[in-house]
Amino acid sequence: MDYIIILIAAVFVNNIVLAQFLGICPFLGVSSKVSTSVGMSGAVLFVMTLATMVTYLLHEFILVPAGLDYLRTITFILVIAALVQMVEIILKKVSPPLYQALGVFLPLITTNCAVLGVAILALGLDGGSLLKAVFFAVSNSIGFALALIVFASIREHLELANIPKGMKGVPINLLVAGLLSLAFLGFTGLV
């Protein structure tokens, strides 16, 4: 039951992009085509889950017992940066097709605040356990994917629309994001 609530909350109610404003950079940056947004979502799912798992263990078994809680930010970001590099190298060797699909997005992920954000938020979960933290990361990346892919498909249609000159580009995209966020607001109170 706990897990169902985490899933629904992360995907719909507290959507990481549209309600919590994490990962806005890739949300606005790589959402001009549905195909690229699917690739980005895949890369985020992969890295976010892995990063949360590693940082959770690191925090629980090294930082807290040693009383070094205040080094959280610095260790987490280094772990994420190193992890992204490693994933990139391993994917290149082990699975070239997957590297083809996700490769270009990987370097962008280090500065995706959704990854660091989820790693930190996962520490604050009620009655936390490793399983819960990882599940939380997976749920949030599904939420990220949902927001990104829906947004990208709307943007593909916008290409054809007749938009006033001053609104073209950034403003109209933000406005669309605002309306999407408004739609997701309707889920509040669901859990």
Binding site: F21, I24, G29, T110, C113, P171, N173, L174, S181
Partner: protein, 201 residues
């Protein structure tokens, strides 16, 4: 003389021509996430300005000592240290602001604005230019966040910097302090910004 003009332009570019929020779209997460009031926007802006300034200074000082292959991790360590310092100082001395900004304080680390300036400017220029660059860019960020926060607070709570100018139980556009309002307010602010900056240049 040439040097001086150069510095003024260097300073101003961050505020208008290359404004980090309206033009370069850097650091959008805190921009949208914490601006539900003018004070929060200002607080986040100043915290970011501090980290940007300090990291630009340090990066520009040690740039010759760092082999270029490991420069990105080195920059990240420098930035993350200053962010942690900001986090601890805020928690100790301004706990109210610390609670309001929440998760967005540690996330200053991944604000592309800071790493971007370290990589694109401070690692190539001398210390004075780097300081001026950081001040300009940081101020541009502060102005953008405070403006967005002010607009959202005026429309959403009928107040500005906590000073209320409508009746206590008057109806306001609550939408603007909710998440969708952040996107919508920023959309119209950037239309306005584009219009003004096209006119002035």
């Amino acid at each position: 003389m040439a040097e001086k003009v150069n510095q003024t332009q260097n300073f101003l570019k961050g505020i208008v021509k290359d404004n980090p929020v309206f033009v370069m779209l850097l650091g959008m997460c805190p921009t949208l996430g914490v601006t539900s009031s003018a004070f929060n926007g200002l607080g986040m802006g100043v915290a970011t300005l501090f980290v940007l300034l300090m990291s630009n200074i340090v990066v520009s000082l040690v740039k010759t000592q760092i082999p270029s292959k490991v420069r990105i991790p080195a920059f990240i360590i420098v930035i993350a240290s200053f962010v942690t310092i900001v986090e601890m100082v805020l928690e100790a001395f301004i706990p109210f602001l610390y609670e309001q900004l929440g998760i967005f304080i540690p996330l200053i680390v991944v604000n592309c604005l800071i790493l971007g300036r370290a990589e694109a400017f401070a690692s190539k220029n001398n210390i004075l230019s780097s300081i001026v660059d950081a001040l300009g860019m940081g101020l541009g960020f502060v102005i953008a966040l405070t403006a967005l926060g002010a607009v959202r607070e005026i429309l959403g709570s009928g107040s500005i910097f906590e000073f209320k100018f409508v009746a206590e139980d008057a109806n306001t556009f609550i939408l603007f302090i909710l998440p969708p309002g952040a996107f919508i307010a920023l959309a119209y602010l950037s239309v306005l910004f584009n219009k003004i900056s096209i006119k002035t240049t």
